[in-house]
Amino acid sequence: MTRAQTGPDPAFDILIIGAGVVGCAAFRAFAMAGLRAALVERGADLLSGASKANSALLHTGFDAVPGSLEARLMRQGHAAYRALHARLGLPLLETGAIVVAWTEADLAALPGIVARAHANGVADVRLLSAPEVRQREPHLAPDLLGGVLVPGEAVIDPWSAPLAYARQGLAHGGTLLRETRVTAGRQAEDGSWQLETSAGPLRARVVVNCAGNQGDIVEAIARPSPFEIRPRKGQFVVLDKTAFALARSIILPVPNERTKGVVISRTAFGNLLVGPTAEEQQDREAATVEEAALVELLRQGRRMIPALAEEPVTATYAGLRPATQFKDYQIEALPARRWITVGGIRSTGLTGSLGIAAYLLELYGAHFAPLPPPPEPIWTPVPNLTETLPRPWQQPGRDEIICHCEMVTRAEITAALAPPLPAGDLGGLKRRTRCMMGRCQGFYCTRRVLEIAAPHLPGLVAPLDGGAG
């Protein structure tokens, strides 16, 4: 769009750097508050960083550090998700979680876990005896010693939630710019920002840094970063859909000093997830999977649920937590710099994002400008990808199925490539539809998916008679 001289002011009220789940939630909140908001992402699509690969758990915050910002915002984020998920078409798989004790030391730690949960205001957390755990989870190895029940822990769709937030932000007039890396910036005399990006300059009255694993680098645009990103990798194994029935609750380890412990949980897509690892690394970009770690995850999974030994692996993946030297979220408003820092949203950002977004509105109102009365919300439900709600293939008159493992129809793939927020790369298409993500990982459907997608996503394939790709 070209703006005439008399057109609206080219500066955004607020510009958010980074379209991870935190940036998407912030974008939604500011746009819904009536501000001219921009969400700027260097990747070809949303979720190019930490947010594309996590455990997909909606935490209660029962084990957070009491009194921390993280504890508060997780609690708020959790409540907000519960309040709005249905209106955005987002799922909620009410699994609950059980912290399982396998050793005497684990067992001795359980009362402390309950006490901390209560201190965090998660009042329904309680001890379970070993027989009670076995009764709830008959597939767990019988030598377990006891557990703690956390009824509120749940499983969600980690991809559709941020997509829904971004789309609602767009519906409220927000601007999303992809393939736009913010590289530098300076404040004008009126305090507003002139940002340099890979796609040209942008102006904004206030900037929010939600850059995840690039958080300290982006922070340096405004000031010497008070925190340093120390990426912490988590690897996962996704087991076949036939494993789904082997755990009803999320099976959590008792945290201790020596071992990290592995979580087993259902996914909203009908699989069973084992992971993550926790490995510090320097590299901020590459989240590799490693055979030895995957084998170890499987071993630990089978130790807890012996029947997992029979279950084939569907997928493996890894994500990078944007951890810092601090435990807590690093959120701060810098009024003079007209900048809001949102850093170190390490391992609970999917849960905390809506709480973080609400807190950012508070900070904005307190430090930058009073918020106008918000307009009527516009609800823009996203297509359902999960097994918790009906899916398109189950509807009479369905389009032809392209991906047989995940039962994805042609119409879903076409829709994911169309406005308002078309997939920007193959990963984005997979996250919007689940195509190629099932047990065959594209053996049966790659050609047909690409026949539909290649015209929209250049660079994947070249026509045979044409030149190089």
Binding site: D240, K241, E290, E291, T314, W393, D399, E400, Y444, P463
Partner: protein, 398 residues
């Protein structure tokens, strides 16, 4: 209630349909989830199909068309996905018309096979675009007219890997290397000769793929040979040589599976643990060529006809057949005593020489010295007349 339903219109399913229809069954229904029938051969343009069953040397697509034509007396419904099985011959099927459960007195599972993806191989590294199974690659080239990369490495050296090499050549793709973890090329000549001399592709044996590298797309692979690591620049990886039966329907349902084959366990009449279900073709075990799959489809059809006529022995009479020693699997996994000669099929877990031994109740019924190769199937004759009073059969490679 129908007489017969066949799940999957590949060589096994279509051959079974042809035989059932030829025997006079009027309501044979084949359910195929793809828009066209024919199964995997549809996308393999290289010649060599139809030799065993049609005595011709056709291309894969031609073979698929001929299989469909020969099964014309059966009803083939494409665009029909079977989503679940129910005890006693129930088949839940989904199509544009919705989801319904059909019933048949005899149901044949002929859902075929797929290649094992990188995830299930627990392959290390990043997960960029450009890592493809051979089947997906060939389908992209032959049916899609697409070139996904220009200089891939090929992982594996069995026949399928060389057919990937031929496909690559047709598409103007020049693989930079073929990698084989073993000390020898799996496909016997002329595979290595073709690779080396015709196509100029170096075959690296005793070379392990350690990791895939690259962000958006494959940029290199890290390999190891004799403790030495090396980075090979490439823009894709073609995975070949490991297969998994497409047996999720059986595993998710009530049928007994064999962890050795990865397919449903059957008896010598191709019956699954629920005798309303039969299985044939590559859904039974990792890959055999199409002629073998088609022959199994024909044999299963004969068994289904006998079942419909009430002429099969009760399944409860069958004894277990177990693989031991160096064998990865053996099937059928159950045999009925007094059923005449039965052919058992087995595979060795690793290459080596040894004694192949068939025994029941500690008594050796048959043995032979063999030189086993994991890619070669092993057949054993079993005289079920010798099994009266036995509790089970053991097949061992010692």
């Amino acid at each position: 209630m129908r007489q017969a339903i066949i799940i999957g219109a590949g060589p096994a399913g279509l051959t079974a349909a042809r035989h059932l229809a030829a025997a006079g069954l009027r309501d044979v229904l084949v359910l195929e989830r793809n828009p066209e029938a024919g199964g995997l051969p549809r996308f393999a343009a290289h010649p060599g199909w139809g030799m065993l069953d049609f005595h011709r040397l056709w291309s894969g697509p031609r073979y698929a068309r001929e299989l469909v034509r020969a099964a014309a007396a059966a009803e083939i419904r494409t665009g029909h996905s079977v989503t679940a099985l129910a005890p006693g011959g129930g088949v839940e099927v989904n199509s544009a018309a919705g989801t319904e459960t059909l019933h048949a007195r005899a149901v044949l599972l002929a859902a075929g096979i797929r290649e094992m993806p990188r995830s299930a191989r627990l392959l290390s590294g990043t997960r960029p675009w450009g890592v493809l199974s051979t089947g997906a690659f060939q389908e992209m080239v032959h049916a899609g007219g697409m070139r996904p990369f220009l200089r891939p490495v090929i992982l594996g050296t069995e026949l399928v890997a060389f057919s990937a090499l031929l496909t690559a050549r047709q598409a103007g793709i020049r693989p930079v290397a073929m990698l084989e973890a073993g000390r020898r090329i799996t496909a016997r000549r002329p595979g290595d000769w073709v690779a080396r001399h015709l196509l100029g592709v170096p075959v690296r044996t005793a070379t392990r793929l350690l990791a895939v590298e690259g962000q958006g797309r494959v940029e290199a692979v890290l390999v190891e040979r004799d403790g030495r690591r090396e980075r090979i620049a490439c823009d894709g990886v073609i995975l070949s040589g490991r297969f998994v039966p497409e047996a999720a329907l059986a595993r998710a349902g009530h049928l007994t599976m064999d962890p050795g084959t990865g397919g449903p366990a059957i008896d010598n009449h191709w019956r699954c643990s629920d005798p309303a279900f039969f299985a044939a073709g590559n859904v039974l075990r990792p890959v055999e060529h199409s002629g073998a799959a088609a022959a199994e489809g024909a044999a299963a059809a004969r068994a289904m006809l006998r079942a419909l006529e009430g002429r099969l022995p009760p399944p409860s009479a069958a004894l277990p057949v177990v693989a031991a020693g160096g064998l990865r699997y053996v099937y059928p996994q159950r045999v009925v005593p007094g059923d005449g000669m039965v052919r058992l099929l087995a595979r060795a877990a690793a290459a080596g020489r040894g004694w192949l031994r068939l025994s029941a109740g500690g008594v050796v019924l048959w043995q032979r010295a063999i030189h086993a190769l994991p890619e070669r199937r092993i057949t054993l004759p079993l005289d079920t007349g010798l099994l009266r009073g036995a509790a089970g059969v053991t097949v061992e490679l010692a």
